[in-house]
């Protein structure tokens, strides 16, 4: 595995971890459920909960950092809205595909080595001598 692969996997995992952490809390899930019905300000979001406004603000910050919600400025208001692309699955799906193909191709390497050993008609050693690059 190369450093680029490691970094790719790490950034994809980090994004998924952040979303997971954000979704692990019942208050934050309830906030998301409320925002699914439309935009709301911190004040509006605080009303249904037995929590202070700073506590709700803290939850909103976690959701915002995980990319699950976005806030816009509207005069003195800062309404929040869902950002569904934060829950997108492209990176997760690509990570799964990468993992699947890497296991498959490692097995294929082994299979091809066995096939070559069993078919001396196309020996790679003679091909190598004839076609070896001078680089």
């Amino acid at each position: 595995m190369t450093i680029a692969d490691e970094l790719y996997n790490f950034s994809a995992m980090e994004q998924i971890d952040a979303a997971f952490f954000a979704l692990s809390d019942p208050t934050r899930r309830a906030i998301l459920a409320r925002l699914a019905t439309g935009e709301a300000t911190v004040t509006e979001l605080t009303a249904p909960f037995e929590l202070t406004q700073p506590a709700i603000s803290k939850h909103l910050k976690v959701l915002e950092q995980a990319g699950l919600i976005a806030r816009r400025i509207d005069g003195t208001r800062r309404p929040c809205r869902l950002q569904p692309e934060g829950l997108d699955t492209v990176d997760q799906w690509l990570a799964m595909l990468r993992k699947t193909l890497e296991s498959n191709y490692a097995r294929l390497d082994t299979l091809l080595a066995r096939m070559q050993a069993a078919s001396p008609g196309t020996p790679s050693s003679t091909r190598a001598k004839k076609k070896r690059k001078t680089t």
Partner: protein, 159 residues
């Protein structure tokens, strides 16, 4: 071990490149002969492919069935073009058990010294398909709980 590259082309295609230390003839065979495919196209540890039917001709059928002992899913497809040992084009879909939209796959086998460079171009599935595939348990644990969390959120939002 050779390095694989996996990149996206726009939001519709995935490109995969991988070098193998064997001539194109053998790599091509490993992709089109069922008894060879059953030995490596398996995904994570613990999965096997007890059924593999390949009609390697234009319009020919393709069917692969995988199981991990308790769960399973299968894939069906049709070959569009075969140019041994250089190129194959086929269409495939997963049955989970509902069929996913068609995935168009072009695979090229290019001689590279004593080896082969494999280049595969496939469709990037849409979001619903990605979620369905992630939920099959191929990526166990996290993907499943992530999917459950999301559907839970959706059902809460709907109620």
């Amino acid at each position: 071990m050779s390095t694989m590259t996996l990149t996206t082309e726009g939001d519709r295609y995935v490109l995969v490149t991988r070098r193998f230390e064997a001539p194109p003839e053998l790599v091509y065979r490993a992709h089109t002969e069922p008894e060879l495919m059953q030995q490596w196209m398996l995904g994570p540890e613990g999965w096997t492919m007890p059924v593999c039917i390949v009609e390697a001709k234009p319009g020919g059928r393709l069917r692969c069935e995988w199981t991990n002992g308790t769960e399973g899913f299968y894939l069906t497809g049709e070959y569009v073009e075969l140019d041994p040992p250089r190129r194959t084009v086929h269409i495939e879909r997963m049955h989970l058990p509902d069929p996913t939209p068609d995935n168009h796959v072009e695979t090229r086998f290019e001689a590279d010294g004593t080896g082969t460079i494999l280049r595969m171009r496939m469709s990037l599935p849409d979001r619903a398909t990605r979620e369905a595939m992630l939920a099959t348990g191929m990526e166990e644990g996290m993907a499943i709980s992530y999917d459950r969390l999301e559907s839970m959120l959706q059902s809460r939002a709907a109620s």
